[in-house]
């Protein structure tokens, strides 16, 4: 198992009801695994977390990406700045 921090932004922050959380996940967890874990832990994120964007240590990551120990993860919807 390893510890990570997950930040939520925009819709995901509102639906999760928090800005971030600390999690323990399996040592070999990928981004896809993390999404499943989050969907189970935060029922309010169900249906939203699957399609959200993910960043690991402030760089975009994708379903197959491995999550390093102590990673800073961020989940958020497609960006809409400007």
């Amino acid at each position: 198992m390893k510890n990570i921090t997950v930040f939520f932004f925009a819709t995901l922050r509102e639906r999760a009801g928090m800005k971030f959380t600390h999690l323990e996940i399996p040592a070999d967890a990928t981004v896809a695994n993390l999404k499943t874990i989050l969907g189970q832990k935060f029922l309010s994120l169900n249906g939203l977390v699957e399609s959200s964007l993910v960043a690991i240590n402030q760089e975009y990551a994708f379903d197959e990406s491995q999550i390093p120990v102590g990673a800073e993860i961020a989940l958020f919807p497609p960006v809409s700045g400007g």
Binding site: F7, A55, F76, P78, V79, S80, G81, G82
Partner: protein, 174 residues
């Protein structure tokens, strides 16, 4: 402007075999809650060799006619600040890789509650002359910011509020 916002000056690429004086080019990549000061930002990316600046400024529209016509009372912007500023620096690097005559680059996104007519975002690119792509560089900068920089806005209308949906295009994020 606080000098901590003036990030790593980038040198133009010269052949390594040439002994030349390397110029330094300023890059500003900034998420801020403060007013966007065009005079100040353009001055920061203007060098003695600069003759042209192409600048894009985006504003909050109070009245939208196209697509889904509606009124906006204000927008609330939020950002994943450290990653957003890194992605802005990536946009600046991409600009320099495509237009090697670009000198200074400023990319600034204002966040917080912003009302109609307020500038929310600025892209400024400078170069010695106006005819070597500086307009295209600024256009590329705002297009790319809207693709990869983690910023979101929620729109507040007279009787409603909703998050503005970005396009889901994972292929542009890499």
């Amino acid at each position: 402007m606080n000098p901590r916002f003036l990030w790593g000056r980038k040198s133009r690429c010269f052949p390594q075999s040439l002994e030349v004086e390397l110029s330094d080019f300023p890059t500003i990549a900034l998420i801020t809650e403060e007013e966007i000061d065009l005079n100040d930002l353009v001055a920061h990316v203007t060098l003695p060799s600069t003759g042209a600046a192409a600048i894009f400024a985006g504003m909050v529209r109070g009245i939208t006619s196209r697509d889904n016509p509606h009124e906006t009372v204000y927008l609330e912007y939020e950002a994943y600040k450290p990653m957003a500023e890194e992605k802005m620096k990536q946009v600046a690097d991409e600009i320099r890789a495509r237009w090697n005559t670009v000198e200074g680059i400023a990319i600034v996104q204002r966040i917080g509650r912003l009302y109609p007519r307020t500038p929310t975002v600025l892209i400024a690119c400078t170069s010695p002359h106006r005819d070597t792509g500086v307009f295209d560089a600024a256009r590329y900068g705002i297009d790319r910011l809207k693709e990869i920089v983690p910023v979101w806005k929620k729109e507040f209308g007279p009787n409603s509020e909703q998050w503005v949906e970005g396009d889901h295009l994972p292929e542009v994020l890499k």
